[in-house]
Every structure is written in structure tokens, then in C-alpha cells.
């Protein structure tokens, strides 16, 4: 189940979409989300669909892979659909028991379902085509102007980097400790919720102790390598805007304008 979640995962590649500046990709994704909420008719969805299809085909990510990412979120989409379907008043088409299905309901339900699907696919395209590290860089650079009002841009980015670095290490460690405790007869799988929660103590205590020890050692190692926060720090890889970034941004802006025109004209 956890393996199926593709949101937040990176699908390595070398396409134009992968190569776009992460800052541009983040801004585009934001604009895309905002645009989705401006849509109030079905027709503009066609443009959105076209845009999504274009991005997917350019990024060379298999459609199946993206659909697989939708699967774990299917319950949410279905619930949204059903809620809208039955809660909207209007001209009744048919009845299921005490529930009325109306034309307006059908309309609104499928409208909302589309919005949700586009939302998920759009955001997962960002993470699928952007490596965590460049995503972090992008966020840091975008937040930089807000430093003056106290947004700790560098610290946030550093925390994200370290978290990404240590997730595989800690997962591996959790598995080792679990096996060591199982060798001592621990049972992590049976019993009721309370027993199961209790059985996690022999896993979580060593894991926390180890995480703290790692944090301590890492802090020491970072200090030894002259780390002193974000000030005066340079970066090896510079983010430079390319022609392709401007083209991508323009396409997004055109889409945005079309959507606004449909809404207000």
C-alpha cells in the first residue's frame, strides 16, 4: 500500500520538464492550483486536460504510473463525489432510497471530482519531475525575499535536506531493531490496538535514542565542516533561468488568462 503512493516521489528522467528550474516549477504549480479554483464551467477543463497531457507526454512518465498514484486517494475522490451528488438540491433525476439524485448534483459532483483529480495529478507532476534536493533549493530561493520578515528560509531548507537524507537510514534502522526484538520474542503483528501500541515501545525507544545520537553526531560533524547557518554561504550549483523556463512560464500564464476570461466574460 505504502509502495503505491507516488505523491512526493521522484521519477528520474532527463526531459525538458525535469530540467526546468525548480522555482519555475513551484510557481507554475501554484498558479495551476489557483487557476483550478477559478474554473466554474466544464469547458475550461479541456484546456487544463490539454495542459496536463502535454506535460505528461513531455516528461515521459508512464500514464499508468501516475494513475497508480491516484489509487490511494480514490476513497477521497469517491466520498467527495457522493457528498456533492446527494447534498445538492435541484431537479430530481432518480431516487436511491431516501436519497435524491439531481441534475445539479450530478453536475457539481463530477465537476468537483475533476477538480480534485487535476489537483492531485498537477501537484504530483511537480514532485515526480523534480528531485527532492532541487525542490528544496527552489523552496529556499523562493522564500529568500521573505527572510526580512523572519521566515527562516535557509533553516527550513536545511531541515528538509537532512530529513530526506536520514529517512532511508532510519527506515533501515527501524527494520533492524524490529528484527532484533522479534528475535527476543516480540510480537508486532497480533493483538488489539492497545497491545499493538504497547508492543511498539521496544521499537520506538531504541529508534529515538539512536535518532538523537545521530543528530548529536551530525551536528558535531557539520560544525567541524564550518557550518554556521545560512549567512555567507555559497552554493556549488546555481539556479539559472533558461529560455525554456520563460517558455514554460508563458504557457502557464496563457492558460491562466484563458481560465480567467472564461470565468469573467
Amino acid at each position: 500500500m505504502i509502495k503505491d503512493i507516488t505523491i512526493g516521489q521522484y521519477y528520474p528522467g532527463n526531459t525538458v520538464i525535469h530540467k526546468l528550474d525548480p522555482r519555475i516549477k513551484i510557481i507554475i504549480t501554484f498558479l495551476f492550483i489557483i487557476a483550478l479554483f477559478f474554473i466554474d464551467k466544464f469547458l475550461p477543463y479541456l484546456f487544463v486536460l490539454g495542459f496536463i497531457i502535454m506535460v505528461i507526454s513531455m516528461s515521459k512518465i508512464p500514464v499508468k504510473y501516475i494513475l497508480k498514484g491516484l489509487k490511494p486517494l480514490l476513497p477521497i475522490i469517491i466520498i467527495t463525489f457522493l457528498l456533492n451528488l446527494f447534498m445538492t438540491r435541484g431537479q430530481v433525476v432518480f431516487e436511491i432510497g431516501p436519497l435524491d439524485v439531481t441534475i445539479e448534483g450530478l453536475n457539481k459532483a463530477s465537476f468537483m471530482a475533476f477538480r480534485l483529480i487535476f489537483l492531485i495529478v498537477g501537484t504530483s507532476l511537480l514532485t515526480l519531475t523534480t528531485s527532492p534536493i532541487s525542490l528544496t533549493d527552489g523552496i529556499e530561493k523562493l522564500l529568500n525575499p521573505f527572510k526580512k520578515i523572519g521566515v527562516p528560509a535557509h533553516e527550513l531548507a536545511m531541515m528538509m535536506t537532512i530529513a530526506l537524507r536520514f529517512i532511508p537510514t532510519l527506515l533501515e534502522e527501524a527494520e533492524k531493531i524490529m528484527k532484533a526484538q522479534m528475535a527476543r520474542g516480540a510480537d508486532f503483528e497480533s493483538g488489539n490496538v492497545l497491545n499493538r501500541a504497547k508492543s511498539l515501545v521496544p521499537l520506538l525507544v531504541p529508534l529515538f535514542i539512536s535518532a538523537f545520537r545521530r543528530a548529536d553526531e551530525l551536528a558535531m560533524a557539520m560544525e567541524a565542516r564550518c557550518y554556521r547557518g545560512g549567512e555567507n554561504r555559497t552554493r556549488m550549483k546555481q539556479l539559472i533561468l533558461n529560455t525554456r523556463d520563460f517558455i514554460a512560464m508563458s504557457i502557464m500564464l496563457i492558460l491562466f488568462v484563458i481560465i480567467l476570461l472564461y470565468r469573467y466574460l
Partner: protein, 276 residues
């Protein structure tokens, strides 16, 4: 005239334990380490080796006495970054000193902190990775590498800061034999080819044999110091301290006790074969 890399002048470092007692981790240490030297520090866990190493890098500051790195007093807070750049440090656990999720980004971490120009960082990163023979892994995720490879990345991370001296705190303790060999070959090469001063802490006697000088610590003090041949000629004393000696050294010692006339400073297989 030998130039001094690190100088310790009557250094004591104390810490407070759980029972609120003050304990001296190292006391009254006087020590000089010369530029280009390869020094190995031996001693049991808790003998003060790690504390000594951290004092040389201003990660710890002496409670009494002075530590000078390349002539700079480590208590001079304005020079602290110069000191850490001059004396780089590699730690025991390779996992807990790699910061970034891509090898080359991690190697760049030190120079980035120093505020070096991006182009220069790129150059240094490639050079450092080449020096530890890991250039072809520059785009790998560190968690997919072996222990020995990770430790070489950690060494590259220090090298990219262009230090004169590298302090390694038990870098081989968690590695398998082939990882140990990789790391020791790297250290040896950096000492010989790039003239880096090496201060290497270890439990392995086969690594100590490679040194120019061995320092043995016990209970926070230096109790023996000398060239490997001088140190390992005192087999009985080392054994009493619970330290190892190479098997051939032990054999030579036992043969001497049986009245066989061979020198008392045998360190390698070849030496013992040649005298028998």
C-alpha cells in the same frame, strides 16, 4: 627545521558526569605534531583519544592550557573557522556525517559553508572525489554506498576544504576488512602524495604500524610515545595494557624469550622472515 602543525601546551579538559562529579577526560597533555607527519593515537575506549581529537579542531575548548593549530590559539573565537578549515575532521560513523542526499552535494557542503565561489567549489569537489577515487559515484545517493565508500566520501568532504591536517576519529571501527583497506590506502596516499598531516585514531595495530609516530593514551594521559618500532618492542607492556600487537611481533617476542637471537623491533611478515 620541522614545522609544528598542532601544539598542545599543558592541556586539561574536564566534563561533569551524571553524578555531578568533575572528571578530567584529558589532563596535562603536552604534545607537538609536525607538518606532514602521520600520527596514530591508540588507547582504550574512554582513554581520552576522542576528546584529544576534538580539542585539535576547536570542537572542544581546553579547560586549562592552550591548543594551537598552525600557530592559532583555538580559544580565539575570531579564528575558529580558520582552525576548522586547517584541521578537518572525519568521524567514526559514516552515516552520521554525510549531510546531503547526493555525493557531490555532500562534498560541496564544507566549501559552501566557507563561502567559496561556485566555480571553485565545483573544481574542488571533483578534485577531492578524484583523490579518494570516488569520482564515478558523484551522483549517487550516499545510503546506497558501502561503509568504506561512505567513509571515503566523508574524507573527500574534508579535503574539499583544503585542510593541511586531517584528524580521523576511529574512521575504520565500523567497516569490514575491505572497507578498512580502502580507507587506510586513501589516508596513506593523502599523507604521502598530498603531504597532509594525518592524526589517526584506531584500535587496529596493523594500521598503527603504518604511522611515523604512535601515541598511546590511558586515563586521559599520554603514557607511551614513539616510532612504531620503539612502541612494539615493548610487547609485555602493551599486553598488560590490554592492547594488541601484530601477530608477527608477538611471535618474535616469544621466540626471543626462548633464546632465539632476533631483533626486538619486528613489525612485518617480511622483517621476521628475513631475520630467521
Amino acid at each position: 627545521m620541522k614545522e609544528i602543525m598542532v601544539k598542545m601546551d599543558n592541556v586539561t579538559y574536564e566534563y561533569t558526569n551524571n553524578e555531578e562529579e568533575r572528571i578530567a577526560a584529558v589532563k596535562n597533555i603536552n604534545l607537538e605534531i609536525y607538518k606532514g607527519e602521520f600520527v596514530v593515537i591508540l588507547g582504550h575506549n574512554g582513554s581520552g583519544k576522542s576528546t584529544l581529537a576534538k580539542l585539535m579542531n576547536a570542537l572542544l575548548l581546553p579547560f586549562k592550557g592552550k591548543v594551537y593549530v598552525n600557530g592559532i590559539d583555538t580559544t580565539d573565537m575570531n579564528k575558529i573557522w580558520d582552525i576548522r578549515q586547517t584541521a578537518g575532521m572525519v568521524f567514526q560513523n559514516p552515516d552520521n556525517q554525510i549531510v546531503a542526499t547526493i555525493v557531490e552535494e555532500d562534498v560541496a557542503f564544507g566549501p559552501e559553508n566557507q563561502g567559496i565561489e561556485p566555480k571553485e567549489i565545483r573544481k574542488r569537489v571533483d578534485e577531492a572525489l578524484a583523490a579518494v577515487e570516488m569520482l564515478e559515484y558523484k551522483e549517487y545517493a550516499p545510503h546506497l554506498l558501502s561503509g568504506g565508500q561512505k567513509q571515503r566520501i566523508a574524507i573527500a568532504g574534508v579535503l574539499a576544504m583544503k585542510p593541511e591536517c586531517i584528524i580521523l576519529d576511529e574512521p575504520t571501527a565500523m567497516l569490514d576488512p575491505s572497507g578498512r583497506k580502502e580507507v587506510m590506502n586513501t589516508i596513506k596516499r593523502l599523507n604521502e602524495k598530498e603531504r597532509k598531516t594525518i592524526i589517526h585514531i584506531t584500535h587496529y595495530m596493523d594500521e598503527a604500524v603504518l604511522a611515523d609516530r604512535i601515541i598511546i593514551m590511558e586515563a586521559g594521559q599520554i603514557i607511551m610515545e614513539g616510532a612504531p618500532k620503539e612502541i612494539f618492542s615493548q610487547v609485555e607492556k602493551l599486553k598488560k595494557m590490554g592492547l594488541d600487537v601484530p601477530q608477527v611481533t608477538e611471535l618474535a617476542y616469544k621466540l626471543r624469550k626462548e633464546g632465539i637471537d632476533i631483533p626486538n623491533d619486528i613489525l612485518t611478515v617480511e622483517e621476521l622472515v628475513s631475520v630467521l
